[in-house]
């Protein structure tokens, strides 16, 4: 049956791989090809034996580095989600309240950067933020600073990069929920004597909650595992778990530990991923 192909494809190439990751996280690293020992072995008498090794998980607990990296990732993801929300809200509101003709153009302007290479847009920030980069040159020229600011290879640069790349993911759901709001509600609030600020906080903001929830989760979840941005803009002490997983795999070639790191990350992200489903369903019901 043709209609079963997507289901089977996703089962094989999306769901089952997680089981393989989990299985591998229980095996032991070895100098071999592939670099791990099998869990199941047949010994000489033909008896099947299982060797499960939860040592990788203990290893993650013992070494402060991993816990620190998880915490750091959560913190960076949380803070950048908040900044994204603060930057995106006025933009979404302005687009939703623009005239119908300019609305599509503005939406297009939000979506266009999303289509251009993510890697190259992150790369663009290196040229702006580095010591003799555009930002420092501009600030020096304006006389605002005497010495170049060290922004590259700090957490600040990582925040800028994340907010920049994930901004469209926040604007679009916010816009969808804001544009659905009935303008009559605001008029009613104004007629009843509410000032614009009051009307915003008691009408617009609460009604846009599904959009806020969806946008925040769309930013938060992928940022937790982000690799490219901390790798390019962050310094050696910007530890994010995606970067740790990458170096366990590519530099240390420790596949079992990398798998354990991925398993824990997945467990941490299951709840937000389910919340995202709920938020999107709530949004569909509302429309």
């Amino acid at each position: 049956m043709v209609i079963a192909i997507p289901m089977i494809w996703l089962l094989v190439f999306f769901l089952i791989p997680f089981a393989v990751v989990f299985k591998l996280s229980l095996s032991e690293a070895a100098i071999a090809r592939p670099p791990y020992l099998p869990i199941m072995t047949w010994d000489e008498e033909g008896i099947l034996s299982f060797i499960l090794n939860i040592g990788n998980y203990f290893y993650l607990l013992e070494d402060d580095l991993y816990i620190y990296a998880y915490m750091q990732s959560m913190k960076i993801a949380l803070v950048s989600t908040l900044i994204c929300l603060l930057v995106a809200y006025p933009m979404a509101l302005a687009i939703a309240r623009a005239k119908a003709g300019s609305r599509n153009l503005l939406l297009m302007l939000v979506i266009l950067p999303f289509w251009t290479s993510f890697l190259l847009r992150v790369y663009a920030w290196i040229g702006i933020l580095k010591t003799n980069g555009l930002l420092n040159n501009a600030l020096l020229w304006l006389g605002l600073i005497d010495q170049p600011l060290a922004i590259m290879q700090t957490d600040l640069a990582v925040y800028i990069g994340i907010v920049y790349t994930y901004l469209p993911f926040m604007i679009l759901p916010l816009y969808t929920s804001l544009v659905k709001q009935d303008a009559a509600l605001l008029e009613a609030a104004a007629d009843l004597g509410a000032r614009p600020a009051t009307a915003f906080f008691s009408v617009t903001l609460p009604l846009s909650f599904p959009g806020i929830a969806a946008g925040s989760l769309l930013v938060f979840i992928p940022v937790v595992g982000e690799f490219v941005i901390p790798a390019l803009l962050g310094g050696p002490d910007t530890l994010m778990i995606g970067k740790v997983l990458w170096s366990e795999f590519f530099s240390n070639r420790d596949w079992p530990v990398a798998s354990a790191v991925a398993t824990v990350m997945l467990v941490v992200l299951v709840v937000p991923i389910m919340l995202l489903r709920l938020a999107q369903q709530a949004d569909e019901v509302q429309s």
């Binding site: 209609i3 192909i5 997507p6 289901m7 996703l10 094989v12 190439f13 999306f14 769901l15 089952i16 791989p17 393989v20 930057v87 006025p90 933009m91 302005a94 309240r97 119908a100 599509n104 297009m108 302007l109 939000v110 979506i111 950067p113 999303f114 289509w115 251009t116 290479s117 993510f118 890697l119 190259l120 847009r121 790369y123 663009a124 040229g127 702006i128 580095k130 980069g133 555009l134 920049y164 469209p168 969808t176 544009v179 303008a183 769309l218 979840i221 992928p222 595992g225 690799f227 490219v228 390019l232 995606g242 990458w246 990398a258 991925a262 990350m265 997945l266 995202l276 489903r277 999107q280």
Partner: protein, 275 residues
Amino acid sequence: MKSRLGFVPVMAALGFVFLYVPIISLIVYSFNESKLVTVWSRFSTKWYVELLNDEQILNAAWISFKIGAISATAALVFGTIAALVLQRFGRFRGKTLLTGMVSAPLVMPEVITGLSLLLLFVAMESVFGWPAGRGLTTIIIAHTTFCMAFVAVVVQARLADMDSDQEEAAMDLGATPARVFWDITLPTIAPALISGWLLAFTLSLDDLVIASFVSGPGATTLPMLIFSKVRLGVSPDVNALATLMILIVAVGVMLAAWIMHSSKSKTAGSNSGEI
């Protein structure tokens, strides 16, 4: 709503500046003669010449193009089927599972997707002997998997938008489901299919993390090459490459927007789901 310059429009304008300054700076400095990317010396197109003579980059671009075209096409077929099944088949066993599997790849951190697929390929190779080694095929499979989720979202939004009256009328008049699909559903969702394919293609062309995990010797994609160059610092030929890619994408997106606009004039404002 308000005509005077308020807080919201000013913040929004600043937001747009923030979105576009990096892109504009990339383009401007690709025409800089100096090797120091951010120190302007004079206008020059020498980095473009250098780029077009760089065998390594051209080769990687060709590999990425092939992977993108094949995976976008496969993702288009599978993603459209998934969208149809979810949107038109009512309730069925496993619907929740399929919904979850279609939406999860959109937010799944790439390091997890990449690692899990690689481990699957290694396991499959040791059990079935296929895929033998890693390279183009494994990247295409990986890209098809995450791109089909994006296609499904775009097509599903379009299907939800279109009213099913025509389909039902055709059915009532005795058309077979296949006939209804080819004659009514497909032409109506065609714009979404075009934008879905383009989105899948650009996502594949752009992917660094997943490709790095599942790639093998001889299959270095363009993002992998750019990443290894960029790690050593900024280089002007990457700026030139970026400008060319931005130009191609901008033309493509405008073309797609134009096709969408001329084929559906009524559903204004509902295209937000079709990224």
